[in-house]
């Protein structure tokens, strides 16, 4: 705490500079720990690859790929007789049973998935942190209310609820992510963060802050929540897997109303299999591995963040 007390004696400008240096140091240290976990680095690389996929699609559509052939929803290549066709120079991943370019659908589905996943992850982390922090600080009836809400959310697992909602309503990716995030934040993430917050609350520095006259807002936002954030980040990444599966499953049931979705690709592959009795392996493999790799990337990044948050890893 010497650095902090020294900060108080500096003027505003140099205080900013010192804080910046401290943050830079912490960031560098965090990166060194993160880099030690090769799976986490692999996950980060995969995420970068997926973001490139999401960004590159509109450019490809505008330049190299003619709209009529490569459109992800209605494209059709007249030059090929039998669809689905295996990978070729024109279609790097081949075409599906309806004659659309598989790579184009794969790329086009990346952006909505990213939107959905980021919304779900952020919402669940924010709500989970607030729920965990508030119920650990106030205990009593606040804790009771949130515990019962969590029980409800655990009774109705978020993926299942989303499937049920998807049955009847046309849910856009962003709405899907927000809803999923609220459910997961009140449920699993809230439960995990609450038990961690309880252990933080029993630490001496909370007591010290109270003795020094810190109010509820100061203790919760200044001391408690910063200690919850690393775990919240880890759980946020784990929420992603559930969200991807639920979204993919709705698509797989054929309920996503022609939204571009990796699950819908699998649904289409099965549904139109009857047209020519061939199993379109190129479509199935591409979409299934996209779902798995996307989820796995988040899981591996979560592992790296877990290491960074673990004080024992610091040397």
């Amino acid at each position: 705490m010497t650095a902090a007390s020294a900060l108080g004696r500096l003027d505003r400008k140099s205080r900013l500079r010192v804080t910046g240096e401290l943050l830079g140091k912490r960031g560098k240290e965090a990166w060194l720990i993160y880099r030690r976990n090769w799976m986490a680095v692999l996950g980060l690389a995969l995420l970068l690859l997926f973001s490139v996929m999401a960004i590159i699609h509109p450019f490809l559509m505008g330049t190299v790929w003619p709209k009529g052939i490569y459109d992800p929803s209605v494209g059709y290549d007249l030059g090929i007789l039998a669809h689905p066709s295996p990978p070729s120079a024109g279609h790097l991943l081949g075409t599906d049973t309806l004659g659309r370019d598989v790579l184009s659908i794969l790329l086009a589905a990346a952006r909505p998935t990213f939107v959905m996943v980021s919304a779900a992850a952020l919402t669940s982390a924010i709500i989970g942190t607030l729920v965990g922090g508030l119920s650990a600080y106030f205990r009593g009836w606040v804790d009771g209310v949130f515990a019962n809400l969590a029980d409800v959310a655990l009774l109705a697992p978020a993926p299942l609820v989303m499937v049920v909602i998807g049955f009847m309503l046309d849910v856009q990716p962003l709405e899907f992510g927000l809803l999923y995030g609220v459910l997961a934040g009140l449920g699993t993430v809230g439960v995990v963060l609450r038990s961690h917050a309880l252990s933080v609350m029993s630490k001496p520095f909370i007591e010290a802050s109270r003795v020094a006259g810190g109010g509820a807002v100061h203790i919760i936002f200044g001391h408690l929540i910063p200690h919850l954030l690393p775990l919240a980040a880890v759980n946020m990444m784990l929420v992603v897997t559930g969200a991807i599966f639920a979204n993919g499953f709705i698509g797989f049931l054929g309920l996503s109303r022609a939204q571009l979705n990796w699950g819908t690709m699998i649904y289409d592959a099965f549904t139109y299999m009857g047209i020519n009795e061939t199993i379109p392996w190129n479509v199935l493999l591409a979409s299934a591995s996209a779902i798995s790799l996307f989820a796995a990337a988040f899981y591996m990044v979560a592992g790296g963040l877990h290491d960074v948050a673990d004080p024992r890893q610091r040397k």
Binding site: L154, A156, T188, F245, L253, A288, A296, M300
Partner: protein, 389 residues
């Protein structure tokens, strides 16, 4: 202890009740139309009105709720809707579908837990880097594989290519009216539970009689299997049970593969955290064999977070179960629930959720009990609360 369990049960039931009420209103307010409106093409207006009257859908929502509530207080879940007016009692539908789900869910979770715990223990404990690396990558691949896709792959491999398993529960054997499939299934689930209880009691007895001797896990498993098959013989359901097991093998395999990855990853992480603890160093320093320290000291401490984590993951595992049922065409709770939701069969949906809720409450209580019996700290805490210490 008993007071704690009773309190948990009570608060769980209250939550469940609130949740079911929410579902009752939710399905009827948010979703457009009602059960009758989907048959609007085949029915004239007066016929629709008549059907609404038989089903009680013409009453205001509040009145319907109170009526349903009154029935529930008498332990009656009402009757499912059907095109000919009132269908089968909901309790009957639940009793017909629940055994199928329980069979796959229970056996699958048990296999996944045993396998995942074993492999996680090995990989989390100073194993060579290539081994733990491959095992972890494999577990991540299983954990993140999309359930319908994995189901399709296994169906393709075992049913279409190798012809080892039947694609669906063949009903040829169940043509005779005296034996019904759900009945055999519920007998199977019950006898499995009894076999499990007997085996656990035997293991406990052996440990009590001869100190420090344990029944090896393989002997326990064999005992369970023998008792189970023996029970089939007693009930005289062997051919039916074999038929069911052949059909259930595929969903069980898919389900346990999916859950296996998650369980293994949790065990590995907690195991890796335990390795550096001081009591492990002590145990090693006093000259115990590493394998002994791993199984008796580290694994016992590492299993606790797994069980508390299992409480949270259980609903997610169940969701995976629903996806598998839907993909493989296994007629269990999940498929029925999705179907009932699709046609807004409100009493059936509400009843199913009550059943699932009670089941998950019981499972969570069971896991609580296991945790208390495994963690000495919790036992001491509860004894202290009762004033014994």
């Amino acid at each position: 202890m008993i007071r704690y369990l009773a309190r948990r049960m009570l608060s769980g039931l209250v939550t469940l009740f609130l949740f079911v009420s929410l579902v009752f209103f939710g399905t009827q307010v948010v979703l457009p139309g009602d059960f009758v409106s989907q048959y609007a093409l085949f029915l004239s207006t007066s016929e629709s009105e008549e059907m609404r009257q038989t089903l009680g859908l013409d009453l205001p929502l509040g009145e319907r709720y109170l009526h349903w509530l009154g029935q529930l207080l008498h332990g009656d879940l009402g009757r499912s809707f059907s095109i000919e007016g009132m269908g089968a009692p909901v309790t009957e539908v639940i009793l017909q579908t629940l055994p199928a789900t329980l069979l796959v869910f229970g056996l699958g979770t048990a296999i996944a837990f045993l396998g995942g715990q074993w492999l996680g223990r090995l990989t989390g404990w100073r194993s060579p880097k290539w081994f733990s690396g491959t095992a972890t990558l494999g577990a991540i691949a299983l954990y993140t594989s999309f359930p319908p896709w994995l189901a399709f792959l296994l169906v393709y491999l075992f049913v279409l290519k190798l012809n080892l398993l039947p694609a669906n529960a063949t009903r040829a054997m169940f043509r005779q009216p005296q034996v019904s499939q759900p009945q055999v299934m519920s007998q199977m689930v019950l006898t499995l539970l009894v076999a499990l209880a007997i085996t656990l009691a035997a293991a406990w007895g052996v440990r009590r009689l001869r100190r420090r001797r344990r029944l090896p896990i393989l002997v326990q498993l064999a005992l369970i299997g023998l008792l189970w098959v023996g029970a089939w013989l007693v009930y005289d359901i062997v051919p039916y049970a074999v038929e069911i097991m052949r059909a259930a093998a595929l969903p069980i395999m898919i389900y346990s593969l999916l859950s296996f990855g998650e369980i293994m990853l949790i065990v590995r992480t907690t195991m890796a955290d335990t390795v550096d603890e001081e009591f492990i160093q002590t145990a090693l320093a006093k000259g115990l064999k590493p394998a002994q320290v791993r199984d008796r000291h580290a694994a016992r401490a590492a299993i606790l977070p797994v069980i508390s984590r299992l409480v949270i993951s259980l609903p997610y595992l169940f969701t995976g179960m629903v996806m598998i049922e839907q993909t493989v065409g296994w007629s269990g709770v999940g498929t029925t629930l999705l179907f009932a939701l699709g046609e807004q069969n409100v009493p059936l949906v509400a009843g199913m959720i009550v059943a699932i809720g009670i089941f998950s409450l019981l499972t969570r209580l069971g896991l609580d009990l296991i945790q208390i019996s495994l963690d000495p700290r919790l036992r001491v805490a509860s004894a202290a609360r009762r004033g014994l210490l």
